[in-house]
């Protein structure tokens, strides 16, 4: 029997203390222990990006990180991207531009877009398509996702948009 470990993680600005198995994946910790089910599991080879969250301000694949590795860290999930009742410009962009259909890849796509725009606030279409190489969508053919990110880039030039409880 392996030893459970105590971890303290701040998620969307709120601190949680839990005892977890070392092998518990961060995505399962978020979904099953903290009931934050907006982050999804779409594959088993760390390729699809449905599980992307921010860890200390950086986009990561939460299916490839152990919950114990997030001890002492700050995590932002889709639920914490914007204060309750409001939408982040990226979320707005996806809505305005029909950047989603079934919605399953969308939270990860949005969280990844945030990182993309943080690294490159004014991306070209080619840079957007490359920037989202770690996110797979089966519904949209990516066309309106690109438009959504372009919308967000435009609207983010004008306002500061830090997620709730974002890291550095």
């Amino acid at each position: 029997m392996t030893m459970k470990r105590a971890i303290t993680v701040t998620v969307n600005g709120q601190q949680y203390s839990s005892e977890v198995e070392p092998r518990l994946l961060l995505v399962h910790y978020l979904r099953d222990v903290l009931d934050l089910t907006g982050t999804h599991v779409g594959c088993n080879t760390s390729q699809c990006g449905a599980c992307v969250v921010h860890l200390n301000g950086e986009a990561v694949k939460s299916c490839t990180i152990l919950a114990v590795q997030a001890d002492g860290c700050e995590v932002t999930t889709i639920e914490g991207l914007a204060p309750e009742g409001s939408l982040h410009p990226i979320q707005e962009g996806f809505w305005e531009k029909h950047g989603l259909q079934c919605g399953f890849c969308t939270p990860g796509m949005i969280m990844a877009s945030y990182q993309l725009l943080k690294n490159n606030p004014n991306p070209t279409e080619a840079e957007i398509r490359k920037g989202l190489e770690g996110n797979i969508c089966r519904c949209t053919g990516y066309q309106n996702i690109v438009k959504a990110v372009q919308y967000a880039a435009e609207h983010m030039q004008t306002s500061a948009t830090e997620p709730v409880g974002a890291g550095e």
Partner: protein
């Protein structure tokens, strides 16, 4: 916002707020009290006898509740449902229980189900189950599977062929002879439509809950067919239908693969009934790639005859459908019932059809975006291109002179389908104009002079959808809508359709808002719960708007008439003089005499002084069964460039002109086409399920199954024409699958054109291109 302009307006989707904030509930997001978790142990062999199963060690793992095998289900759980068992299937060939018994017949065949306290324990228990197998030779190649001496999946039948039809070809042969005698040609071609995986981003999943006290079963499933699923569960678990309830939570994509009835749904329900606890099963991505139904896998041998001017005089199609190891819901009829009827494509040509439908040691195939029509369209489009290639004619012109003409509709095609309406030439012309075809060919000539490989491909597709009229299937494929106008003026709609990304919560509200001339915000569209929605048939086959929307439209008209009657009494006018506009009922010619929609709704629901003969309330249920299918169409034109050194191929331009009749919401229509095109290009260029000779699955993760990412696509350039249908009052045809149907052949044509050859089989991977290029050099 102007009320009268609702239909045709690209309003934002009301589905989105919950999806973009992570608030939506997919089946894996649900936690029920006392819930157990199920994991399935599957065959690692393509074909093997099950010698023994030892679950002792697994049972001893703390947290394991129960382990089931076929033995436990015998007599208690019926077989996986097959909609149209024909040929040897009617005698039991290909029919299976939920868990494998005696033999496993494909990699991933489910053998044992572990029920445990939590998902991690269930997974661990799988490693502790000891199964002894005796591997058997596998039948993988479909043509070899049909030969004497092939490994047999069902020994008692002595063959792997389940259904066959080889009608005499005399008449077509005469036509071919005459064509050749007149100076025309006959071209033969073997055409592969390879096996692909649908891959919705949400894998399958189910939660079953059983209340022993009243024997009621509730199942939440990531499905496209809640009502059919309910009926199947009731039948296979011997429960009365009224004691089974199915609820679809948010569904993360289906593309046809969730239009089915799966062993895991059956076993989860059984386990819930046995243990008295809710049981959840969530499919892993490797399971999804291995056992969720695959698409396509059809081999065609065709012969096409054409006069010197490109006019096709006849087409022979022999189709061989690879079913995989077992029949799922529509496995055996995808090719012959859905594809064959549109074998003529957009063209006025005689066709001769013959077929074999065969079992192999692979996963079952079934509906995947297009379900038979992509395969049929691929064949008819390749045929046109072969004619053009062999006669040195422009493929656009060959299509043009073979099109069904506008004055021929409704068109009874020789393959069986009767096309409702169509006007193919304008779509072709528009696509050619958008891509600037003449200059594109000039660019191609320039690039070829520089030694580059550039190709241009055209595809003029039709498709058959909006299932369906009487006779399409063994059960009626109607759709339903219950509409209720509440006393507040809010309209509640309960539809039997089951959208999972297509946006009907928005577009159906647009229909209602337009017809009632009320704000779209006052309309609520509910779906997916068999307790609250009338019996429906679900969402697939591009039918939700054409059939479900029509039912809704008809229901709204009924209520509109009643409201007019009530308004006429309030206004003391004749009902025929009452009009509804801008949310008000008023008397024609006297607009000041009016009563609001909301007031009429209030009156209908609350009044104790309704005129005699008027029943209180405003609620009606309508079932709509279309008289016929609908036939969207279009032309796609694309260009590709192939790197001579590596064979890597890039899609450089993609133009799509589609005609789906009236567009309720152009933004949503375009989204459907984008997604369809991406899947069609994916199949053409990169995707493919592969098995080793002994039946091992070689594409069991995304590391081996190539999923297209954003960088791989150009921007799709879309336009449209509008040719209404008379089949439903909305004038809409379907659009969900068109993108996939039209795009694959366009890419195929462009690649063959780039290489200067008649035909290349998909997928057009770099090595294949490279081989051809280098064979040409040497």
């Amino acid at each position: 916002m102007g009320i009268s302009a609702m239909v045709g307006t690209p309003i934002k989707r009301r589905e989105d707020p919950r999806l973009i904030t992570g608030q939506a509930t997919y089946v894996d997001d649900m936690k029920l009290l006392g819930m157990y978790h199920m994991a399935i142990l599957r065959s690692p062999y393509g074909h093997a006898r099950i010698v023994s199963i030892n679950t002792d060690a697994a049972k001893a793992l703390p947290g394991v509740i129960k382990i089931y095998t076929a033995e436990d289900l015998r007599g208690k759980v019926g077989n996986v449902v097959v909609a149209v068992p024909l040929g040897r299937i009617a005698e039991g060939m290909g029919i299976r229980g939920a868990l494998a018994e005696g033999k496993v017949r494909f990699y991933g065949d489910p053998v044992a189900a572990v029920i445990a306290d939590d998902a991690y324990t269930a997974r661990d228990a799988l490693d502790l189950i000891d199964i002894e197998y005796e591997p058997l030779p596998a039948a993988i190649d479909i043509e070899k599977a049909m030969q004497p001496g092939a490994a047999l999946l069902y020994e008692e039948f002595g063959t792997n062929v389940a259904m066959s039809s080889h009608p005499p070809t005399d008449e077509m042969d005469k036509i071919f002879e005459q064509t050749v005698a007149d100076g025309g040609i006959v071209v033969k071609q073997r055409i592969v439509n390879q096996r692909v995986a649908p891959v919705p981003m949400e894998t399958r999943g189910v939660i079953a809950e059983y209340r022993k006290s009243d024997k009621s079963l509730t199942v939440w499933s990531s499905t496209q067919i809640p009502h059919l699923l309910r009926n199947f569960l009731a039948a296979t678990l011997s429960l009365p239908q009224h004691q089974v309830r199915v609820i679809t939570p948010e569904v993360g994509g289906g593309f046809g693969c969730k239009l089915n009835y799966y062993p895991e749904e059956m076993v989860a329900a059984f386990a819930a009934m046995q243990t008295g606890h809710p049981v959840k099963w969530i499919e892993d991505r490797s399971e999804n790639l291995a056992v969720t139904v695959h698409g396509r896998d059809q081999l065609d041998y065709i012969e096409v005859a054409a006069r010197k001017d490109g006019r096709v005089t006849g087409l022979k199609v022999h189709g061989i459908s690879d079913m995989g190891a077992y029949c799922q819901l529509f496995t055996n009829v995808i090719m012959i019932a859905f594809g064959f009827p549109v074998s003529c494509g957009s063209y006025d040509i005689p066709v001769h059809l013959s077929f074999d439908v065969v079992f192999t040691n692979k996963a079952p195939t079934d509906a995947y975006r297009g379900a038979g029509r992509p395969e049929a369209t691929y064949v008819s489009e390749r045929a046109m291109d072969l004619v053009a290639f062999n006669l040195g004619l422009d493929p656009a012109e060959v299509r043009r002179i073979n099109f069904v003409q506008p004055d021929q509709f409704p068109y009874k095609s020789s393959a069986g389908a009767v096309y409702d309406t169509g006007n193919y030439e304008p779509a072709l012309d528009k696509a050619l104009q958008i891509i600037d075809y003449k200059n594109l060919r000039a660019e191609q000539a320039r690039k070829r002079a520089e030694g580059k490989l550039m190709g241009i491909g055209i595809s003029s597709y039709i498709e058959i959808c909006g299932f369906g009229p009487k006779g399409t299937a063994p059960v009626g494929l109607y759709e339903s809508a219950r509409v209720r106008v509440e006393h507040s003026g809010t309209v509640m709609v309960y539809t039997g359709a089951s959208p999972h990304g297509q946006g009907e919560e928005t577009t159906f509200a647009q229909i209602v808002a337009e017809e009632f001339s009320i704000p779209v915000e006052n309309v609520m569209i509910m779906h997916g719960d068999t307790d609250s929605t009338p019996e429906g048939r679900g969402t697939y086959g591009s039918r939700t708007t054409a059939v479900g929307g029509a039912a809704l439209f008809n229901a709204v008209q009924k209520l509109k008439e009643k409201m007019k009657l009530i308004a006429s009494h309030i206004l003391e006018a004749s009902p025929s003089d009452v009009e509804l506009e801008d949310g008000k009922f008023s008397v024609a010619g006297s607009p000041q005499k009016s009563v609001s929609f909301n007031d009429v709704a209030l009156t209908a629901n609350f009044s104790n002084t309704l005129a005699p003969g008027i029943e209180p309330g405003l609620e009606t249920t309508v079932f709509f069964e279309p008289e016929a299918c609908v036939f969207p169409f279009g032309t796609y034109v694309c260009s590709v460039e192939i790197d001579k050194e590596t064979g890597e191929t890039k899609v450089t331009r993609f133009v799509a002109v589609d005609d789906c009749g009236r567009q309720l919401n152009p933004m949503i229509v375009q989204g459907q086409i984008h997604g369809g095109i991406a899947q069609g290009i994916g199949q053409a260029m990169w995707e493919g399920v592969e098995y080793s000779e002994d039946g091992q699955l070689l594409t069991s993760t995304f590391m081996d199954y190539a999923m297209p990412i954003a960088e791989e696509f150009p921007q799709f350039e879309l336009d449209h024409t509008v040719t209404l249908t008379t089949v439903n009052p909305l004038g809409v045809k379907g659009v969900g699958e068109a993108g996939t149907i039209g795009s694959t052949p366009a890419i195929a044509a462009a690649v063959a054109d780039a290489l200067g050859v008649a035909h290349v089989d998909m997928p057009f991977r770099a090595e294949k291109m490279w081989k051809i290029i280098h064979q040409q050099k040497g």
